[in-house]
Symmetry: C2
C-alpha cells in the first residue's frame, strides 16, 4: 500500500503538471502530454440495491457450492484447492460459501504497475482509470488497404500510435496477432515491441506457461530481477473457459504471473445464451463466480500477489445468433459488475469501445461510446479495448484507434467532473457582464478559456461552408490522415542500448531453441 | 395528480401490453409497437454532493437578488412580478432568495400530455422518459440530395418517420423550418401536420403570442375547449435570451401557454463563454436562475399550470470560437441540472443526440451517444432533439433520424435495467447445463431468448463475409435505405374527417387574414 500511496502523491503532482501541460498544449495548439492515468472525480454509477446485489452474490455462491468449477490439465491447481479446503472430486471443485471471499482478503485493493519510464507508471485500483488499447484481433484494417491479417509491422505501428497518444495510459498486450511470425515465437517479438517502441506499462503472453515466463523474464531484463519480485511490471490477461471451466493453459499462465508477483487479469468471456445464460442477472452471477475462483487461485499461488477482477459480457443477435457488442444489456451488466468488484475490494477491469461494425462508421462509435461510458461509469480501473476494436474483436482498425483515443481524451475531462469554487461559479463574471451582454471578452473568460473545454483532434466543429471548402470529409477520412501523421511524427522513447541488446540476445537464444510452429 | 396516477396505472398495463407486442415483434421479425413512454427502472446518476448543489443554488440566488433579470417588451410580466413582491426597477427585476421557490410550489411535479390517440398520451415527470425529435433546423439533409433548405414536405416526412418509429414517443414541434411557407403562416401548417400525420403528442408555435394562441386553438378543435382547459395537450418550447434577459416575444408566448393551462418548456440556451460564463459551474448556476424565473412566471400567470424545467448547455471550440455539441462538459452539466430540477420537484427537459458533425458519421454518433446518455442518466423526463440533430442544429438529417430512433430503442432496454428474480438469476439453467457445455438449446434459453436482448434495425452484426457479400455498406447507407422504406410503408393514423375539415377551415380563415411575410 505504501508504494501505491507514494505513487498517488506523485500522481497528484504529475496531474497538476499534466494540467499545465494541457494548458500549454491548448494555448499553443500543439500536442502535449496527458496524465499517466486518471483519478476520477465523479462517483461510480451504482444501479442495483444492496438487496439485489446480495441475491446475485448468493446465486454465485450456490453455483460454486452446488455445481462447481472444473479444472482441466492442471493437477497443481487441484492440489492447491484441496489444501485450501475445497471439495475436490476428480476435476470438479466445489466451494463452501464464504471460502473464496476469505482467500481474496490477501489480494491488494490497489497496486502500481510500473513502467520503464517511472513517470508513466499507473495506479490500478481505487479511483484510478487506465486506458489500454484493444487486444487480440487477427485482422487489421485501414481505409486504404481494407481488412487483412495483422503483421508484426502492424503490431509495432499500433504500439507507436498508443505511445503517441496523450490520452492512452498503457501499451496493451496482443494489440493484433502478428501472423507473419510463428505462433510459438510471436510473444517474444510482441513484448520486445512494447518495451522498445513504448515507455508505458504493458501486458505479456498467456498462451502457454513458458510464453508467460518468457514475457516475465524479458521484464526482468528491463527492471531487474529483485524489482520484479517486489513490484508489478507486467500484466497477463487470462480467460475463463466459460461456463464453469478453467483449463490448464490458462491456470498455468495465471499461476506463472502470480508466482512472479505479477498481476493476472481474470476474465470470463460470457456471450449470453452461449457460454452463459441468456438472462443478464444469471450471466453476471456466473461472471462473479468464475472471476472469484481465478482471483482466489492467484492468492493460493502467492498470497498478496496483485490481481485484477475482470469481466467481458456480451449479447447475441436473435436473428443470426451472432455475438453483439456495445448493446444495452452488457452495458447495464458492467455497472452491476462494478458494484460487485467494489464489494470484494478488488481492482476492476472492463472493456471499452466494443462494436460489431466492420467500418469506423456511425454504428462503430454509437456502440463503442455506449460501451466505453459503461466502463467509465461502473468504476473500472483498467479499461482494455479502449482503442481500435472493430468487427467484434476480429479487426484492429487504424482509423477507429485514433477516433477512440480522441474519445479517451474527452473522457479525461468527463472524469474531472464539475469543479465548484468561486472562480468556477463566476459570480464576478455576472457582475461584470450583466443582463443582455455577452461573455466573449470578459476578464473571467480570458482567465479561464484555455482550460475550460475539451479540445478534440478528430471532430469537426467548423461552420458547414468551411468544412465543405476543406473537402467535406467525414470522421473516418480525417482519422485516416491523423494516424498517418502520428506515425510519421512518432519519436521512439529512449531505451538503454545494453538493455535492448540483452533483450535481443534473449529472444535470439529462445528462438534458436524452437522450430517454427504455425498453429 | 389524480389524472397522472390513473395514467401511470394505465401505462403499466400498456407497458405490459407493449412488452408482449415487442415479444410478438421479435418472434415475427416485424415492426411492432414500443411503449407510449418509458418508466425508468434504473436510478438517476447523481454526481454532486448536497453541499456543492447548495453552492450552485446560492450562486443562482445571488445572481437573481444582486444582478437581476431584464424583462423587455412585456409590461404585464413586469406587473406580475411587482404584484408578487419582486423588486422591479425599469425593466430590471430582482428576486429575494426563496421567493421563486415559494411561487414554484404550485407547479405540478408531473402531468400528462394527452395525445389525440389516448393510448399514446405521455406522462411527463417522475420516472418518465419521453423521446421527441430534434427541433428548429433551417436545413434538411440526406445522402442523395445533400444539404438544402427544409420544406413543408420534409416537415411532413419527419412527422411520418417519427410516427412510424416504435421508439419515439412524441411528434415534436418545429422538426425543421418549412421555408417554402411564409414565416407568419408556417405554424398553421406545422401544427396541422402533427395532428394529421401523427397521433402522438406534439408542440406548438412560440414565435409570437398570436401563433402560440393559434396553435392552442387548433388543439382545442381536436380535443374540445373544456378538455384543453383542464388538461395539457400541447407544449411550447420557450427560450431565454441569455444572459439574464427574457424578451417579450418569449414571455408573451410562455404566458399564452400557461393561461391556457398548457405546458411551457423553459430553456436557457447557454453557450459557455458567449451567453454564459466559460466555466461549467457558473453556466449551470445561470441556467438554474433563468429557468426558475421562467417557470415561476407561468405560475403567476396561472397557478398550477404545467411547466417543464429545461436546459441547453453547450461548449465552444477554443480554436475557432464555434459552438460544440456532444462534448464532455455539457454532459456533466446535464447531470448537475438533473439534481437541481429534482430539488425543485419539477419535470426536466434535456437535449438528446447533439453533434456538430455535418454527416451521419462516426463523429455524429460519438457525440450524439455521449449527449443522449447524459440526458438519460440525469433523469430528464422530456428529451428534445432525440433524433435527427446534425451540424449544430442547422440540419435535420434523414439518415441520422433513423439511426437515433434505433438508439432510442436500445435505450428502452437500457432504462429497463437488470431484473432480479429466480428466472433471471437462472440457477436452474446452470444445473441443466453444467461446466464445459453451452446454453444454446437449453430450456432456460428457449424460454427467454425472445425478450433477452435489444434487437437493432440499423446495426450490422453479421459475420464480415456476409456483410461484404451484402455490399459492404456502412451505417449511413443502411439508414438511407431504412428511412425510404419507412416512408414508403407509412400508414396515416385515422383522423375524424370533421375534425380535419374544421382544422383546414381554421387555417384557411387565418391565412386569408394575413399577407405573406418571409422574414
Amino acid at each position: 500500500m505504501m508504494v501505491a500511496e507514494t505513487l498517488e502523491q506523485a500522481a497528484g503532482k504529475r496531474e497538476r503538471a499534466g494540467r499545465s501541460a494541457r494548458r500549454e498544449q491548448r494555448s499553443h495548439g500543439a500536442e502535449g502530454l496527458g496524465r499517466p492515468y486518471i483519478l476520477r472525480n465523479i462517483p461510480t454509477y451504482d444501479i442495483l440495491s444492496e438487496e439485489n446485489l446480495i441475491r446475485i452474490e448468493t446465486t454465485a455462491d450456490r453455483i460454486l457450492a452446488e455445481i462447481g468449477i472444473e479444472f482441466r490439465d492442471d493437477p497443481v491447481a487441484l492440489d492447491l484447492w484441496k489444501r485450501a479446503g475445497a471439495d475436490v472430486t476428480g476435476l470438479l471443485v466445489k466451494f463452501e460459501p464464504g471460502m473464496l471471499r476469505e482467500i481474496l482478503k490477501t489480494a491488494p485493493a490497489e497496486f502500481v504497475q510500473h513502467a520503464r519510464n517511472p513517470a508513466k507508471s499507473v495506479l490500478i485500483g481505487g479511483k484510478s482509470v487506465v486506458f489500454s488499447p484493444a487486444y487480440g484481433s487477427p485482422f487489421v484494417m485501414d481505409l486504404d488497404r481494407g481488412r487483412r491479417y495483422g503483421t508484426i509491422e502492424d503490431f509495432r505501428n499500433f504500439v507507436k500510435l498508443a505511445q503517441s497518444s496523450p490520452w492512452l495510459h498503457h501499451s496493451g498486450g496482443t494489440i493484433c496477432e502478428p501472423v507473419d511470425v510463428p505462433v510459438n515465437k510471436r510473444h517474444l517479438d510482441m513484448v520486445h515491441a512494447h518495451i522498445k517502441y513504448s515507455d508505458r506499462p504493458f501486458m505479456g503472453s498467456v498462451t502457454t506457461e513458458s510464453r508467460a515466463e518468457d514475457s516475465i523474464d524479458m521484464a526482468r531484463i528491463v527492471f531487474g530481477r529483485d524489482f520484479v519480485d517486489r513490484n508489478c511490471v507486467i500484466l497477463g490477461n487470462v480467460n475463463v473457459n466459460s461456463p464453469l471451466v478453467w483449463d490448464g493453459t490458462m491456470t498455468l499462465a495465471l499461476r506463472a504471473y502470480a508466482r512472479a508477483n505479477q498481476a493476472a487479469v481474470v476474465v470470463p468471456f460470457i456471450l449470453g445464451g452461449a457460454m452463459g445464460p441468456v438472462t443478464n442477472a444469471g450471466a453476471i452471477a456466473q461472471s462473479l463466480a468464475e472471476t472469484m475462483v481465478g482471483c482466489a487461485l492467484t492468492q493460493l499461488e502467492r498470497p498478496g500477489a496483485p490481481v485484477i477482477f475482470g469481466n467481458f459480457l456480451s449479447s447475441m443477435s436473435l436473428r443470426s445468433g451472432s455475438p453483439t457488442f456495445g448493446t444495452p444489456e452488457p452495458a447495464i451488466g458492467s455497472m452491476v459488475i462494478g458494484q460487485l468488484a467494489r464489494r470484494l475490494n478488488l481492482p476492476l477491469r472492463c472493456s471499452g469501445n466494443f462494436t460489431t461494425s466492420k467500418l469506423p462508421d456511425a454504428q462503430a462509435m454509437n456502440e463503442g461510446t455506449m460501451s466505453m461510458l459503461a466502463a467509465v461509469h461502473c468504476g473500472a480501473n483498467f479499461i482494455l479495448h479502449s482503442a481500435g476494436f472493430l468487427d467484434g474483436l476480429l479487426s484492429m482498425s487504424y482509423e477507429k484507434f485514433v477516433m477512440d483515443a480522441d474519445f479517451c481524451g474527452a473522457l479525461h475531462s468527463y472524469l474531472d467532473g464539475v469543479k465548484i469554487d468561486d472562480n468556477q461559479l463566476a459570480l464576478d463574471a455576472f457582475r461584470e457582464v450583466g443582463p443582455g451582454s455577452h461573455f466573449f471578452g470578459c476578464a473571467h473568460t480570458m482567465a479561464n478559456y484555455q482550460t475550460a473545454f475539451w479540445d478534440t483532434e478528430i471532430a469537426d466543429n467548423e461552420p458547414f461552408e468551411k468544412w465543405q471548402a476543406a473537402g467535406s470529409r467525414d470522421a473516418a477520412l480525417r482519422a485516416n490522415q491523423r494516424w498517418k501523421k502520428m506515425l510519421a511524427e512518432y519519436q521512439a522513447p529512449p531505451l538503454d542500448e545494453a538493455v535492448d541488446e540483452a533483450l535481443l540476445d534473449f529472444i535470439d537464444r529462445k528462438k534458436a531453441g524452437m522450430a517454427d510452429a504455425w498453429y
